[in-house]
Symmetry: C2
Subunit: 356 residues, 2 copies
């Protein structure tokens, strides 16, 4: 792909959730058509796409049909199996590239990559046995958290260690999967930066947002974040460093801890990010259009912010607030078309313009 | 329909052009699904809708299938044949109602309705023969314009009369169709007001926009329009009067001439309107979402404007400016997915925020 994608071209999106849904809408604004590939039966993105493939990532025929109908492939979800990606990549370009995916799929690869760029992460150690874990606790200290290196591994995932007595149980909780022990970071606040890199190598970052999590789920993002000018520019430079090192094409979310000693990278997500939803209310070109622009080889849009915004996720029963939200002035509602709420399920979000 | 439409409900849209496309996107934000009915093969709205019916308005089986799959029906296009509407209305609610459609489908009915509300239109006279036309010219004076009472009648439509010598040819140009002679209005500027009325009877109007037409096609809308405070409130009151008189549910566009003697109503459109596209860049809730909110029985959104915007239509070869527009700061581009440009074809629009 050396030329920009012509209007009317088809963008394939792996994953049919709310991110795919908002990507498809953004693509339509630029005159593109989207096809969605999603293993689960319910695919909110399918409501606003020209075509929806409902098939597992192991279905080679479906993957071939999907690839055959599109001009470029992107994703809203980073845990696409390698075998599916290998096949798709042999048929059509994938943006962002495989390296970004590979790095974000494995916590150890990711931390190694970030440290290699001179960026600070939480202290960490690889853990492949209970003995490793004991050594890691010795090195990093407690409290700490043990995580499988790959996400979504059989639904198992994380175990917190407060005392050495927790070691045996934590290791059992990993069910034999490769893991990483991460030390706790004493942070002042959590922020994230949404950066994009175009096919021409240009980089544009949005103003960092300040995030509040509850029970491991993002609740609110507020812009502007409470950051000093130096912290703000550190965040932008750090995002640009990651994007350039990966020769990345698309939008990426970088979660950061703000500490007295500087910014610590928590995690990167090679896709549009929940903490960037505020850009729909505060920017001329939002993160979804920015991602599509990059993937299509168009110039990146201006990332400038023209409003102060608080984005609030509607999680589970929060969706029952919708009738009240619809009556609010200056509240921009986004529902994801997911049917009945379940605890922890992201049902929508609302962007409130607090200063226009 | 006494209850608001539940999320996940299906809205049927008659017409699959750019207005249907942007309505479908707005509906998705509120958690609804859209099905599109469009006779022509190319239907840009189908790119961002769950289902597209491609069938003529005379296809009773297709109309029944369409109605069977939706909870409420709306339209992006006012010239839907009466027979199709009769059938659809027997199956599902149509919003806005039939009366609004009937009025806007016939220039004489429309003018009679508007004058009956005490609103000023251009001077006009009914013309069903050459003799009628001579009498009408006598009464109204020249120059004047002769128009068939119904739009899109065999592609014939309008004839301008500058001198009495034009009478015979003008009547021939109507091909025997009922017509109306309209006197010219000496106007200072053209504006339009986009108003919405909810199922609860509440009314909300956007700030009037100032329109520039060329060759009968809207080129730009600028907000704010150059209007005095009195003219501005006259425009809002006039729109509210029309909406209330029709017990209208949805968004309507009202085109106005600004004259020394006050506002003159040029035309009403019982749907979202090209001159309201600026609301996508200048309001929390744009005209498309406002229409969907009304049709779904939700509370209307706040119509407040938080930016000065110039909307420019991209007509025909204007679309070749897209690469330059993509590089502009503060330009929000909307392409309609229509394929190759043709002279006079609306290909997209751009909203430029001139003061945020």
């Amino acid at each position: 792909m050396s030329e920009p994608l012509a209007p009317g071209s088809v963008i394939g999106i792996l994953g049919g959730g709310q991110l795919g849904r908002m990507l498809s809408v953004a693509a339509s604004r630029l005159g593109y058509i989207c096809h969605i590939y999603e293993p689960s039966a319910a695919a909110p993105a399918g409501h606003v796409a020209e075509k929806l493939y409902t098939a597992p990532y192991e279905d080679e025929a479906a993957l071939r049909a999907f690839a055959g109908g599109v001009d470029v492939i992107t994703y809203e979800f980073e845990n696409v199996p390698t075998s599916a990606l290998d096949l798709l990549e042999s048929l059509k370009p994938i943006r962002p590239n495989r390296r970004a995916l590979a790095i974000s799929q494995d916590r150890i690869t990711e931390k190694t990559f970030l440290n290699g760029l001179g960026l600070t992460t939480a202290p960490w150690a690889e853990v492949n046995s209970e003995a490793d874990l004991r050594a890691a606790v010795e090195k990093i200290g407690l409290p700490a958290i043990l995580k499988t290196t790959r996400l979504g591994y059989d639904g198992k995932g994380q175990a917190r260690l407060n005392t050495p007595d927790d070691i045996a149980a934590a290791w059992v909780a990993m069910a034999g999967a490769p893991a990483v022990l991460e030390g706790f970071v004493a942070f002042e606040r959590e922020v994230s930066i949404i950066g994009g890199r175009g096919a021409d190598g240009s980089v544009a970052a949005y103003d960092p947002g300040e995030n509040v999590h509850r029970e491991g789920i993002l609740r609110t993002t507020t812009v502007p974040a409470k950051l000093s000018p130096a912290q703000r520019s550190d965040a932008v430079l750090l995002a640009a460093k990651i994007l350039n090192a990966l020769e990345y094409i698309g939008v990426m979310g970088v979660e950061l801890f703000v500490t007295r000693a500087g910014l610590v990278v928590n995690e990167i997500a090679p896709r549009v990010h929940n903490s960037g939803h505020w850009t729909q209310a505060g920017c001329t070109v939002d993160q979804f259009e920015q991602h599509i622009r990059a993937v299509a080889g168009l110039p990146l849009g201006d990332g400038g912010r023209y409003a102060d915004v608080v984005m609030e996720n509607l999680i589970g029963e929060d969706v029952e607030q919708v009738p009240a939200i619809l009556k609010e002035r200056a509240a921009q509602l986004h529902l994801y078309g997911k049917g009945a709420w379940r605890p922890g399920r992201k049902m929508g979000h609302v962007n409130r313009i607090v200063k226009g």
